[in-house]
Symmetry: C2
Subunit: 235 residues, 2 copies
């Protein structure tokens, strides 16, 4: 299997860094190929605009999707984006490794999605959700939080973690066709003991050894919606 | 009233640009002071790491919150962040102007939150939610979408827009103390007619003339949660 890891943390000695190293070791030990985009180490630029392209379709007005479709036709993506797109085509499994910052992806990773998930490449022309370009691939979030599990429960002060992750898991990953496996969440690691951290690493390693066949999150497929994009009623 | 607008769109001729100009005109006409952070025009850097600081508390290990608390004590924030923090202190109303990209803030704006909403400035030490530093200020999202309203309904294919905006409205704005006014959403503007776009601008202008006293979104206050951060049951 080909595993593509996108990692976003500014400190390699952090617990996120330890999770990343455990991922690479475990996947290699399982005989898998691994590529890592370490966005901070690469100095990845997360600002999306004309820098995404080597040419331009409309010099007078910048409409990103128009330029994206043009770039698909002309191989006109900037080299940093083309490299990421190639890794997405190559992979069978995508893992996003990140700390939950302000209830979402760190800016450097959000901008990676903004720039790399281009129209004509990651969606478009009726290719979305269960007809998306990445159908047949799996994706998985591996994240850390500041707060404890209870604060992210259904009645928790910070809101339900599944609701908070919905824009990522459903809006970015399921939208483009991935089967989204349940997330791995290490809660409140800044306050965890060394033993708790080691236990998290072991649980994560075990997930990566055996978890690829986990049932994906059961988002309704595209066919469950009518022509106005509303969920069909049971007959 | 002092209004602070943070605007994130790469094309000034876009409909987002038109909404921004309508905001500035309408607020000026109402006698309000207005400051605008046009993140693309400013070439704002959305990558959060040691660049946020002029000094360092711990040169051997980068823990952002530790460095943030140190920067609060030593006036050690980088000039680009200090300028944004001053505008946040100054304002009575914060408006975030953006296109919804991948079900969230554009990377440049997400990174603005990651960097500017520093511990010790925007939260920390028990100051959060209805005890947050920005209590008494109001905030408001003004956004555009690609999809139509129906696809963002409670049973819509893309998910409920209120769920999608929860990490922003509750997680970023309410978390830091803002009263969050209902969002202004211009649906599917790329497919709208000129008349529909003019109507959106007029509705938005009218909101800005009269809407400051709208009831905020009724998120439960901090006191509604128990010591484990779970919502108290009705007695």
């Amino acid at each position: 299997m080909n595993a593509f890891i996108v990692y976003a943390h500014p400190e390699s000695q952090s617990f996120n860094g330890a999770l990343l190293r455990r991922s690479v070791e475990t996947l290699h030990a399982g005989g898998h190929e691994v590529r890592v985009s370490d966005l901070y180490a690469m100095r990845f630029d997360p600002v999306s605009d004309r820098r995404n392209f080597t040419g331009r379709k409309d010099p007078a007005y910048f409409k990103q999707q128009i330029e994206e479709l043009h770039a698909v036709e002309t191989a006109g993506f900037a080299p940093d984006l083309a490299a990421e797109m190639e890794k997405l085509r190559w992979c069978d499994l995508l893992i996003l490794h990140f700390p939950l910052w302000w209830f979402g992806l760190p800016g450097i990773l959000k901008g990676w999605v903004d720039r790399v998930f281009a129209m004509g490449f990651a969606y478009g022309g009726g290719r979305w959700y269960t007809k998306g370009p990445f159908v047949g691939k799996r994706a998985l979030l591996c994240l850390t939080t500041g707060g404890p599990a209870a604060i992210y429960g259904p009645d928790g002060l910070n809101g339900d973690i599944h609701q908070i992750l919905f824009p990522i898991q459903h809006g970015m990953l399921f939208f483009t066709g991935f089967n989204v496996l349940p997330p791995f969440i290490a809660w409140s690691v800044a306050r965890a003991t060394d033993a708790e951290r080691r236990a998290y690493l072991d649980v994560w390693g075990e997930r990566l050894r055996t978890g690829f066949e986990d049932a994906p999150i059961a988002f309704p497929p595209l066919e469950a919606y009518d022509e106005t994009f509303r969920l069909r009623r049971a007959p």
